[in-house]
Subunit: 373 residues, 2 copies
């Protein structure tokens, strides 16, 4: 287990500040609702993580280091997973984009109300003269109906977080609760998790004073949780991680690294400036998906170097490690968000994974039966 | 001018990345609307700054350092200034709290719509069956009516910012545009501005890689703009700055420092954990306000040490420097937000300042007339 960095991970958790509330009980109740027997899910469950994590610079937190992430990917993906019949645990940064809000004509509250509501705004108008504008009635009613249906069926559990300490504690809780439920659970880790942090034990109690001149900050590396999630917390779950870079030349090498080093089933690789129009899904042929048959090999990078760096946008699917497949996912012009296509592809990989596991279990049962007879 | 740090300030601005758009033209148009002759305002104008500024850690910004600030103070104060007849330039952090939203029954979009709208949510319901719930009609209509009136009279100019570079460039633009309009302009600097930053010139182009181990960040001090705002950009404006600390023992000494060192007319001092219920207004008797008459002296800290540190909450108005007055502002239990009382007190100080200036100008004109006769 040393290769997974279990010791570093344990040390991180031991140094975390205690969380208030009882989120673990909410997670347990959600899984119990969808798998009353504690083992088999009535529908697949995905844990979507979304938004950036903060790293406090003081215990009485005034300043923090943050990761850029509006949370659009996670919110839109949550909608798509719900549409596809999944139940979703949405681990979301406070204040980031929430599901369904992007279906509305405006994102800010007051302009939205001004857009969808009409009122008798002259002083002489009746005090209660306010109604939904005809043009928006259909869209707003559809949204409210959809949300009500999701709530009625308890398909969505929203868990907010702000700091890296909160995020990683909630993630571990979900993973441990998902472990007994096997391959029907997916982790779709779209949150932008800090790579560096200041351990709680070495944080200043009060706001750092600026009077003493320039500030030197020493940040520690956040231990990589992916290997432990895959190998220890929920070894039977399907795990999709995300890799965001600004430098195209290192993107695929980094994405391949996550598959090879941590054993995640797929990595969604994206560049900061094109992430809304294009992503690459890197996955190991035969792990995340069915074993590749010869007809499907055209996209597999046979023997391409893991460190293959190049600046050619047209050939961006180059640079993945040997034995890995790369799916080039682009937003169709008629779709407003790439998540519709992205989530469909990920679900395809998850379905292949589930079928494959089912097959393995049947084969094993068959072998056992033959041995027994 | 060396004492104001003009050189450091100039160096900061020279190193700022260029802003897109033409915010300066919007600011000029706003002032022109309220002072068509370019010199006398039809109503006082306040520039309210709100929310925290970010400090990018990379040019292609994925990571940044942020200051905690929801923006509640700035948003609520903007509403109060508008109610009091001011025109407001609202310099606001993207995504922070906006005026009027706190008057709504819920803050998040989907729960808000669920609360204020009723729809025929069963599948058989009419597609367009959605209306404002009777209970909320009055409140929502009042809000829409108020916003419409503010827009019709062009009383609010909203300028969004994210980074420290954007914030400080916009602030300087507003200050320069306000300069010819004299004492009727106020700066109410509630934004949580970073004390430290990484100069644009020394920022990494791409996302910092975590593979190389722990990260050492060297942050430079952001030059203090208060002195330059007071002394150079808009010397005739009324300036209120804010001081947020987590340690009560240093709060008043820090707040006094801003009055003494930068010549701001008043400092609103607040502690992170009690800021919604209590603030202290530190101001120089006879600068921000009328000269103190003997009957008003009870709150003036005659000879209290500027560094007076103590842990006694009940005596928290202690610790201000000699010659400064401290007003202890507490939220009345019947008010939901302290800003109603806070802004009323600040406007009182502004009015005293305006009357005093008017008197000085009349005196000067009188002297000139006597000299001429």
């Amino acid at each position: 287990m040393a290769a997974l960095g279990v010791e570093e991970v344990d040390a991180f958790y031991e140094g975390c500040p205690q969380l208030p509330g009882d989120v673990d009980a909410e997670i347990a109740a959600f899984f119990r609702h969808h798998a009353p027997d504690g083992r088999s899910l009535a529908r697949p469950v995905v844990c979507v993580t979304s938004g950036g994590t903060t790293v406090p610079m003081e215990r009485n937190c005034v300043r923090y280091i943050d990761n850029f992430s509006a949370g659009t990917r996670g919110a839109m993906s949550t909608q798509e997973f719900l549409e596809a019949g999944y139940a979703v645990i949405f681990l979301t940064r406070t204040g980031s984009v929430q599901p369904w809000t992007l279906d509305l004509p405006r994102q800010e509250t007051v302009p939205l109300l001004q857009e969808i509501l009409a009122c008798s705004c002259d002083e002489g108008g009746g005090r209660d003269g306010v109604a939904v504008v005809a043009e928006h009635k259909g869209r707003v009613a559809a949204l409210l109906r959809r949300v009500a249906a999701v709530q009625r069926q308890r398909l969505l559990l929203t868990i907010p977080f702000t700091t890296i300490f909160e995020y990683l504690q909630h993630l571990r809780s979900v993973a441990r609760a998902a472990a007994p439920l096997g391959g029907d659970c997916m982790f779709y880790l779209a949150a932008a998790v800090s790579d560096f942090y200041i351990p709680w034990g070495s944080l200043a109690e009060h706001k750092i004073q600026s009077a003493d001149g320039p500030l030197a900050l020493n940040l520690s590396k956040v231990p990589k949780m992916l290997g432990v999630l895959r190998g220890v917390w929920a070894p039977d779950s399907f795990v999709v991680s995300f890799k965001l870079e600004t430098d195209e030349r290192i993107l695929l090498a980094k994405a391949s690294g996550a598959v090879e080093r941590y054993g995640v089933h797929a990595v969604v690789a994206n560049l900061l400036h094109t992430r809304k129009d294009r992503v690459l899904i890197v996955h190991r042929a035969g792990t995340g998906a069915e074993p590749q048959r010869s007809g499907q090999r055209q996209q597999q990078r046979q023997g391409a170097a893991a460190t293959g760096a190049h600046g050619d946008g047209a050939a961006a699917t180059n640079g993945a490690a040997a034995g890995l497949s790369v799916e080039d996912v682009r937003r169709p012009p008629e779709q407003q968000h790439i998540e519709e296509t992205l989530v469909a592809k990920v679900i395809e990989l998850h379905n292949q994974f589930r079928r494959r596991r089912q097959q393995q279990q049947q084969d094993k049962a068959g072998v056992a039966a033959r041995h027994a007879s």
